[in-house]
Amino acid sequence: MRKTVVRVVTLLGGLFFVLEFMLPAELRRPGAEQPYFTNPLSPWLNLATDLVIVLGTMAFLLGPINLVRSHLGNLFRGQRGAVESAVFLLFLVLGLGLAGLKEFPDLKRGLGLAAADSALQSGYNLLFYGLINAFGATSMALLAFYLVSAAYRSFRFQSLEAGVMMITAVVVLLGLVPLGTFLTGWLPTEFQLPTWAAWIFAVPNSAVQRAVVIGAFAGAFAAGLRLWLGVGQKTE
């Protein structure tokens, strides 16, 4: 029953967006002031968008809710990783509390914390700039080390194709940074590394990207159609 409801809602939702897009906004006979047809679905489009935002927000909340359930269980059962669970829950409460107090001044006043404004702001700054900013940048920066390691282990000149790929990669890597200009800036423009890199992006890369995108979107269209129509899914 639950899956049937989901399928019906999916079908109706998809049908709404398809028909709203396909039907003309309005049709009028030549010289007529009033249209004889206006798209009956367009007035509902804003409501549909609001529902998308609400659904997105609910989906966004599902992550933290599941994590809290899982980590609370870990903590109370005293399982392995309970300390990490406690750290997660502590920072979740801290983050929610400080961000909530920052965003909702009425809440701050209601809790009698208006006097502690600077302390709350410092706490928020510590979490935002001191932790989130640093952790986010660090985890992304680690990619540089993995890239170097991967280049060392896997980038092997073992066949003609691998050789072409390697030479292309070197031209792009050098052409995309000022070093390309530094090394070949004395040559005519046609022979400079940035010009070659730009050509690789604009010509061979574009051709391949078009092929990939056409294939990927054809697949996505087919998958979307199956999902929309509920084809190939078990009902229960």
């Binding site: 968008t49 940048a137 995309l176």
Partner: protein, 282 residues
């Protein structure tokens, strides 16, 4: 030959240390590299923004956070510096990607705007974050283009948008002269909805590794311009005549790319030497 063959078996921890040392060099020594070449994608973006008439605004979607700040931050700085220099009014949004977007954008934009004498509400506005569904931003972008006021009833300071003087000129996203999206990988829906249906001229600022995916749209004219990572930011700064973060970070990026090339070369020399040694032994 045996020494060369050992290059094939370097412990990866040594590679990590070497990368770290190499990447630190440009932060310790004040090195500069020339930025003579300007890609056509960057030039097109600059010319589009530069041609904004006085009665129009540019909308910037700043949807990046700490993870991609190494490149998106310089791009945003470069474009906002250009807007401020040309006295072009702008609206900032953060649509559907990261809730931290508005905080990061504010920290960059506010000082630049204040330095340029911009008044909030009259010359620039920040609308904040709207939650979307990952991979399905289409409905939001459609709403953005035809009903910006409906999508953003209030700005980040909780002021109703109809009370902000600048917003009188931008009831719909499609009213803007140009739209710039700075994020790790801008959504394709900006092209299929905002450009294809509403004719909004788009500039993307993306991470370098994501840029190959957008070149076909440059060729088709659906994407007016693109800033490719820090290099794009540095080129934009060169066109604007102001050397900023993009120019500064070009040198560490060059060292990072060199580390990758050197690692690949060492690995290949080691492999070659080892095979040669094995053949000689046989």
């Amino acid at each position: 030959m045996r020494l060369l063959a050992r290059l094939h078996r370097i412990d990866r921890r040594w590679l990590y240390v070497a990368t770290l040392v190499l990447m630190l060099v440009p932060f310790i020594l004040p090195l500069t590299l020339p930025a003579g070449h300007v890609a056509r994608t960057t030039r097109a973006a600059f010319e589009l923004i530069d041609s904004c008439p006085p009665d129009k605004v540019v909308i910037i979607d700043s949807s990046w956070d700490a993870g991609s700040q190494a490149e998106n931050r310089a791009q945003l700085e470069a474009v906002v510096a250009h807007l401020c220099r040309r006295r072009i009014k702008f609206v900032v949004t953060s649509l559907g990607v990261t809730a931290l977007g508005p905080d990061f954008a504010r920290d960059i934009i506010r000082p630049l705007a204040e330095r340029a004498g911009y008044e909030y509400g009259r010359d620039w506005v920040q609308l904040g974050f709207v939650q979307g569904v990952a991979g399905a931003l289409g409905p939001l972008i459609d709403r953005f283009c035809r009903d910006l006021w409906g999508l953003y009833p209030r700005d980040v300071h909780n002021t109703p948008v109809e009370e902000l003087p600048l917003m009188q000129a931008v009831r719909r996203g499609a009213d803007a002269h140009a739209f710039c999206c700075f994020t790790y990988a801008p959504a394709y829906e900006w092209i299929s909805f905002a450009n294809a249906q509403y004719g909004l001229r788009l500039v993307f600022g993306c991470m370098t590794i994501m840029c190959p995916a957008y070149y076909p749209y440059i060729d088709s004219g659906q994407l007016a311009g693109m800033l490719v990572g820090n290099v794009g930011a540095a080129e934009y700064e060169a066109l604007n005549g102001v050397a900023g973060r993009g120019t500064r970070l070009g040198v560490p990026a060059a060292f990072g790319n060199c580390a990758i090339i050197i690692a690949a070369v060492l690995g290949n020399i080691g492999l070659w030497a080892e095979r040669r040694g094995r053949r000689a032994a046989a």
